[in-house]
């Protein structure tokens, strides 16, 4: 069947090109069903076999009348806010020191961030649980200083959740804020200096005051990510009595026998609504932040603050931050990986160090399978997302008819917390039949849907850097649409495509809560394997698998960093 060559894009034309139509259809296929299934499941009863029963509002009523509802909401808010503050403070200090001062060792901060992008969430969290646990070195030291009846750090608490989640997001905060500080015009601060302001006054009235929209946007972003996160609430909060919305969903599925899918779905719908509201607020604040960009556009390169005497304390601080955020967790994991069974750090344990765990992990077919599955999942997702986003990003950046629809559709998955998306797709795959459920393909589908928004952003940015006249020149020279896209746009998009591919790859292999409900024995992935190992108390193997995986992933994340910085693509 011939596809019409006359696909005019005249302004006002409501005709969608085939490219746009196919894209819209694909996006709808991926993105609309989860909403529908989730909503349906939340409004229906389930019989003991798990099939849908009659319609009901009981799930929602149950949520709102439960005594635990308000405490859970509050806990979610406190946790998210706390994590945002921790990440913001650490990220701001790091970013300012790295970009606006002459403090020594600044490069370490970037290296640490690159490494941290490669560490799986579960591994990172577990390392803190080991380090800060009752039997860990910190509490040991407290005990020896204050006696065993004295206070100790209980990491399995809301405070512990705030700390670990904040630590998790601080590299991300650092990267975003460092570009804000890097692009700031030094003239504003010099003007303050010439008006008589010393360093503290300049920081307060100018540097941070002008960065406030960006800081606020970042804090809100971390707030959103924390409130939809699952790993920290599950690993850190559940063993304590701290519960937030996402962990409650998991509990509904695992506390009750049979699992209460209706209630879990209702919570999911609730979370969706909350996320939608928060994301709206975020996009508004983000847009406002652009008001404060340098008005004339001209400016000196950002002037570096000479710290003088404060250089050495600053250098120490810079050294401390990666030490705490990256080195301690990695060291703890390495320690755990080298011991046959976990013991707190002590010199007596040193003779027992050995590589048995590594041998076991590397030899085990199930772990090998998990590693391969994760790599395949990452690569397949990255490829699909990049392909889809390249086309979608082009449509949106060039504002073809239908671009708004594509933009909205492709950004929609953002409202889904990972675990809710997993739950929604669980229902879909169960109904879709045996070929999909439990297969690696099903994981690829879910994570493709989840990461399309991220891919779109890279592609959009990349296309916007290509002047439309380049394509118009091809057009006038007689090239058709597809030829122009393939021969002109794609080669110029290569930096964006590569950045996008690597970034989505890194995201997809880290996904745990999204695929937790969907993995089967032959589609096991590393992220879930780590979670299982922790729940089964197999710390040595967890640490060994984690080390091996982190090493592989660091190679990818360093590659990503190099490409992104070289082509000035955003990182995250």
């Amino acid at each position: 069947m011939a596809i019409a060559l006359d696909d005019s894009q005249s302004v006002g034309s409501r005709r969608y090109t085939p490219k746009v139509t196919i894209l819209v259809v694909l996006l709808c296929l991926g993105i609309i069903p989860p909403f529908l299934f989730l909503a349906y499941a939340s409004l229906h009863q389930f019989d003991p076999t798990g099939a849908f029963g009659p319609a009901t509002l009981a799930h929602f009523i149950g949520i709102f009348t439960s005594r635990a509802f308000i405490p859970t909401l509050l806990a979610t808010a406190i946790y998210s806010l706390g994590a945002a503050l921790v990440a913001l403070v650490i990220g701001t200090v790091q970013a300012w020191l790295a970009e606006r001062t002459d403090a020594p060792l600044r490069g370490i901060l970037y290296v640490a961030s690159a490494i941290s992008l490669g560490i799986p969430y579960v591994l990172y969290i577990v390392s803190w649980l080991l380090f800060l646990g009752k039997a860990g070195p910190v509490n040991n030291m407290l005990r020896s200083l204050l006696g065993s009846a004295g206070p100790y750090i209980d990491v399995y608490s809301l405070g512990g959740m705030v700390f670990v989640e904040g630590m998790l997001w601080s590299p991300f905060a650092f990267l975003l804020l460092s570009s804000v500080f890097r692009n700031a015009d030094a003239a504003y601060e010099e003007a303050a200096t010439m008006c008589g302001a010393g360093l503290p006054a300049t920081l307060r009235h100018v540097t941070f005051a002008m960065a406030r929209p960006a800081l606020l946007a970042l804090a809100l972003l971390v707030f959103i990510k924390a409130s939809e996160s699952f790993e920290v609430p599950a690993l850190v909060g559940l063993p304590g009595a701290a519960r937030v919305l996402t962990s409650t969903i998991y509990l509904r599925l695992t506390l009750d026998m049979p699992p209460d899918i209706g209630s879990a779905s209702a919570f999911g719908v609730l979370l969706l609504i909350i996320m939608a509201i928060l994301l709206q607020a975020y996009s508004r604040i983000y847009a406002e932040g652009h008001r404060y960009r340098s008005i004339t556009g001209k400016g000196y390169r950002p002037r570096v603050v000479r710290l003088g005497r404060w250089r050495y304390p600053a250098g120490i601080l810079i050294g401390l931050i990666p030490l705490i955020v990256v080195v301690i967790p990695l060291a703890t994991i390495l320690w755990a990986a080298l011991l046959p069974f976990y013991q707190p750090f002590s010199l007596q344990a040193v003779p027992r160090l050995g590589f048995d765990n590594f041998v076991q992990v590397l030899r085990s077919p199930s772990f090998q399978g998990a590693i391969i599955n994760s790599l395949v999942l990452g690569a397949a997702t990255a490829t699909l997302v990049t392909a889809l986003s390249a086309v979608a990003g082009w449509c949106v950046a060039r504002r073809v008819p239908g671009s708004r629809l594509i933009d909205n559709l492709a950004t929609l998955p953002l409202v889904f917390p990972a675990i809710v998306l997993g739950l929604a797709f669980l229902e879909i795959f169960v109904h879709a039949g045996p070929l999909l459920y439990g297969s690696l393909l099903s994981l690829v589908l879910v994570s493709t849907v989840a990461y399309v928004p991220y891919g779109l952003r890279y592609a959009q940015l990349g296309v916007m850097q290509i002047h439309p006249e380049l394509e118009e020149a091809a057009d006038i020279s007689g090239a058709g649409h597809v030829a122009t896209f393939v021969k002109v746009v794609v080669p110029l998009l290569v930096p964006a495509i590569v950045s996008c591919w690597l970034f989505v790859f890194l995201l997809a292999v880290r996904a745990m809560s999204m695929v937790l409900l969907l993995v089967g024995p032959d589609s096991q992935v590393v992220a879930v394997a780590l979670f299982d190992l922790w729940n089964n108390g197999q710390i040595g193997e967890l640490a060994a698998l984690g080390c091996v995986w982190t090493a592989i992933m660091t190679a990818f994340s360093v590659a990503f960093f190099a490409v992104a910085r070289r082509y000035q693509m955003p990182i995250g």
Binding site: R15, S247, L435, Q538
Partner: protein, 365 residues
């Protein structure tokens, strides 16, 4: 207009293909054949199973037993016997196992061939996931521990009770009866797991031996003790008590503290009379991919040899002729002068709604 019409035609073609792609799963064997294998009692049963298993060559076991200590050695023993089979396992807690099994059944893609777990008997049957089966080994078991309908066969017992941190609780402070738990000095120091096999089972047990009225009074007083309700498996609570986060827990599988204490951890089991007793069992899904291998494994698990493996893993074999490890004597009710508070799977299921309601009402969720 033409681009849209074109797209519509593509969509229609796709829609036509979809059912073919998704709907048609080829079942390995049809239902009647599996039923025959599951319930066959003929003299050539062993040979039939061996022949079929040799063609299948694989086995997937879902269990909530501890992986390193129990599952791996048992599967190793099984493979030693049937070297042509490659067994794999999936280890998870009972609720997660149930969620996976139900999803697999609804999707029409059963990955599990055999299920061994605690507390799943009734829900799994209600969900229509499993089928009745017969093994010659089952005849050796006591009838009161068997399922008359043949949907499950007992594999091991578990005794549940309290446990305490030996560093935090002095020998003369240790509670001796249930009422001792109400002593104000334990306020804020007790933890339990908010799962079905945790707090709710404890409540069921209390209701079972105290009667509803006395149980209600007891539980109301217990609620004033500020129990820490932790949404994890019983074993995790034991770990927390071990780490000193709590002094006592109420719903430990009593062999867990013994195993840990053997490694030097400051934890001790605390059975209280009568000792809550439950049975774990093995079940057969309706449509396993490897039914012959599954039956062979069930035979093995229920046999003396398999039960001895369980005993070696510090579990309590359900087989009347296989004794448990002597180290565990101090928690076997008959050996310490206590009674068994046996909760059968049916009773567990029947009591659950009210136990959950009591839990939510008195202890909050």
């Amino acid at each position: 207009m033409r681009p849209i019409k074109t797209a519509q035609r593509w969509l229609r073609t796709l829609a036509a293909l979809l059912p073919l792609v998704l709907g048609g799963a080829v079942h390995a064997q049809d239902t009647a054949a599996i039923e025959k294998i599951a319930t066959y009692r003929g003299p050539d049963r062993e040979q039939l199973l061996l022949d079929g298993a040799a063609k299948e060559g694989q086995l997937v076991v879902y269990s909530s037993m501890i992986a390193d200590q129990a599952l791996r050695p048992i599967l190793a023993g099984f493979q030693a016997k049937y070297s042509f089979l490659k067994p794999q396992y999936v280890r998870d807690d009972p609720p997660q196992l149930l969620q996976k099994l139900m999803a697999e059944a609804r999707a029409g893609r059963m990955v599990a061939d055999v299920v061994e777990s605690t507390g799943l008997e009734v829900p799994i049957r209600n969900a229509g996931v499993n089928r009745p089966f017969w093994s010659p080994q089952i005849e050796a078991y006591n009838t009161e521990h068997r399922d008359p309908d043949g949907y499950w066969a007992p594999t091991r017992f578990s005794y549940l009770g309290a446990c305490y941190n030996t560093d935090l609780v002095k020998p003369n402070e240790v509670p001796k009866v249930f009422e001792d738990l109400l002593d104000p000095k334990w306020k804020g120091k007790i933890a339990w797991s908010s799962t079905v096999i945790g707090a709710m089972l404890f409540i069921t047990g209390v209701r079972n031996f105290m009667g509803e009225e006395k149980a209600l009074a007891f539980l109301q007083k217990l609620a004033t003790q500020d129990l820490a309700a932790i949404a994890s498996a019983n074993r995790v609570i034991v770990d927390r008590v071990m780490a000193g986060e709590h002094a006592l827990c109420l719903d430990a599988f009593l062999h867990h503290p013994i195993i840990s204490a053997r490694k030097g951890a400051p934890i001790a089991p605390l059975p209280l009379d009568p000792v809550l007793t439950v049975v774990s069992s093995v079940m057969l899904p309706k449509a396993p991919l490897h039914p012959h291998s599954a039956m062979l494994f069930i035979d093995y698990l229920l046999s003396v040899e398999g039960q001895q493996q369980l005993s070696g893993a510090d579990y309590f074999p359900a087989h009347p002729q296989v004794p448990a490890s002597p180290d565990l004597d101090k928690i076997v009710p008959s050996k310490i002068g206590m009674h068994e508070n046996f909760i059968s799977p049916e009773k567990m299921s029947a009591y659950l709604p009210k136990s959950r309601e009591l839990y939510e009402r008195l202890f909050g969720k």
